[in-house]
């Protein structure tokens, strides 16, 4: 486990995940205080990636729960394997076993389908539990989540109460789709992850697209950073910057001008309106 924010920075950098000290400090504090880390910020800045990197750098398994509207306990926590139970009951009956006996067998761990939350609680080692896009789940699920994240314990009525031996490192992500409850937020250490700075993005680009000319890399980042300031429907994420860089490299472009942008804007932007808005502006104005 990490002993300082600096170590978080170092370990993350080793797996080519570039963050600033503010991010590293929040991660460090959340781990030390054993609190869930709530990561907010625009899409495509690496919220989910942060959880993956955390798992990688701590040598733990990543367990992911993707939230959506209507997500309930049976999909998030556990479910009884109904078909398997039925089969068992049929076979047992043919052997003339009585119901008391059968009941005992079919409500055992063998017939339990572990969903991500239960899996994380029952793990024999500390895991990273990623609860992705928690803002997309509904309020009931949220209060249920709060309960689990408070004492890392759940009760399965037919079986027993299960308490985590190694409480997972929990990372929750949110795109602010819905403003979710204060109680859950109170429980968490908060981290706002934003688009990287110019220097950071340049560093990321050089790391992930080796062999790119420095001048082109600088231009790419300058341009992307500038159009992020425009009112776009979907600003380019880091992945899109990288894709664009790859595309320009493949095309053998060494400079960015209006023509290049016109030809390749589709790599960077995903909405027609955004593309029109960006290409209608002289690229030179972004490089002033």
């Amino acid at each position: 486990m990490f002993s300082s924010p600096d170590e978080v920075l170092d370990k993350f950098a080793q797996v080519k995940f570039i963050v600033n000290r503010s991010v590293a400090t929040a991660v460090f504090i959340a781990l030390k205080l054993e609190r869930p880390l709530l990561v907010e910020g625009p899409a495509g800045v690496g919220k989910t990636e942060l959880a993956r990197v955390l798992a990688e750098t701590t040598n733990s398994e990543l367990i992911r729960l993707q939230c959506y509207e209507g997500l309930d306990e049976s999909k998030a926590l556990y479910e009884w394997n109904y078909q398997k139970q039925l089969l068992r009951i049929y076979t047992d009956k043919s052997q003339n076993k009585n119901w008391e006996e059968i009941k005992h067998t079919v409500y055992s761990q063998e017939f339990l389908l572990e969903r991500p939350l239960l899996k994380a609680l029952m793990a024999q080692q500390r895991t990273v539990l990623l609860i992705d896009e928690v803002d997309k789940s509904d309020e009931e699920f949220e209060s249920f989540l709060l309960e689990i994240l408070s004492d890392y314990q759940i009760s399965i009525p037919e079986l027993s109460t299960i308490t985590a031996v190694h409480p997972p490192m929990v990372v929750l992500t949110s795109n602010n789709f819905r403003d979710f409850g204060d109680a859950l937020k109170r429980r968490c250490i908060h981290l706002y992850l934003d688009y990287p700075s110019y220097e950071q993005e340049l560093k990321i680009l050089n790391l992930k697209v080796p062999g790119i000319q420095l001048r082109l890399a600088e231009k790419i980042v300058t341009y992307v950073q500038a159009i992020r300031q425009l009112k776009l429907k979907k600003a380019p994420s880091i992945a899109e910057t990288l894709n664009w860089a790859h595309a320009l490299l493949e095309l053998g472009e060494e400079d960015i001008d209006n023509e290049v942008i016109k030809d390749t804007a589709g790599v960077l932007l995903k909405y027609r309106g955004d593309i029109e808005q960006v290409t209608s502006q002289d690229a030179a104005t972004f490089f002033k």
Binding site: T25, D182, H190, S197, Y198, F286
Partner: protein, 194 residues
């Protein structure tokens, strides 16, 4: 309790007065976090931010008050967390930034309106404006105290020039800027059809 802990609690209580939802557990976490990361300026700032602030829209007020309570703005990342604290949350693309935006501001060729703005936002003068608008006498008094504190050590001979001291204290709070803004608001209010 250590003086710094008292200071953090006072800080948290003041945040509450600005409608920032600071919970007891947030304060307890903050104290624990400080134990972990120590008092090095940037870490101290980051630790308080991560434990006390649960809503990114609260950052500008947090920054302003942090400066008042713990002195000059920390170097590096914090500066970029800006946005107008009293206009409520801005839309996603436009609001404060985590880490490294300071460096970003120096990036060649990227001078945007937002960046120009970010240099003046998140200052104590915003607290001043809010206090005036809400007739918050306590806060005004508090700010006055801070203004005096900002003067640092005052020598007996300086007292002769009290006017200059007052001016200096006012300037440290962004007095003139606050006046400009308040007059601006007043003018808009007069001409507004509502």
């Amino acid at each position: 309790m250590k003086p710094i802990e008292e200071r953090i609690i006072e800080f948290a209580h003041t945040l509450r007065r600005f409608d920032i939802n600071v919970s007891h557990s947030g304060i307890a976490d903050a104290l624990e976090a400080i134990d972990l990361v120590g008092f090095e300026r940037e870490d101290f700032y980051n630790a308080l931010k991560a434990t006390i602030i649960k809503d990114h829209a609260d950052m500008p007020v947090f920054i302003s008050l942090f400066r008042l309570f713990f002195g000059e703005k920390p170097k590096g990342p914090p500066k970029e967390d800006t946005g107008d604290p009293f206009d409520g949350p801005q839309d996603g693309s436009d609001d404060g930034r985590e880490g490294g935006r300071v460096e970003g501001a120096n990036s060649p060729g990227v001078v945007t309106e937002q960046r120009a703005k970010s240099r003046i936002e998140g200052e104590p003068y915003l607290l001043l404006i809010k206090a005036v608008r809400e007739n918050d006498y306590d806060m005004l008094q508090y700010l006055a105290h801070q203004g005096v504190k900002n003067l640092g050590t005052v020598h007996p001979q300086d007292i002769d020039n009290a006017q200059a001291l007052v001016k200096k204290a006012k300037r440290s709070l962004g007095w003139e800027k606050a006046c400009d803004e308040l007059f601006g608001m007043l003018l808009n209010y007069r001409t507004s059809p509502f």
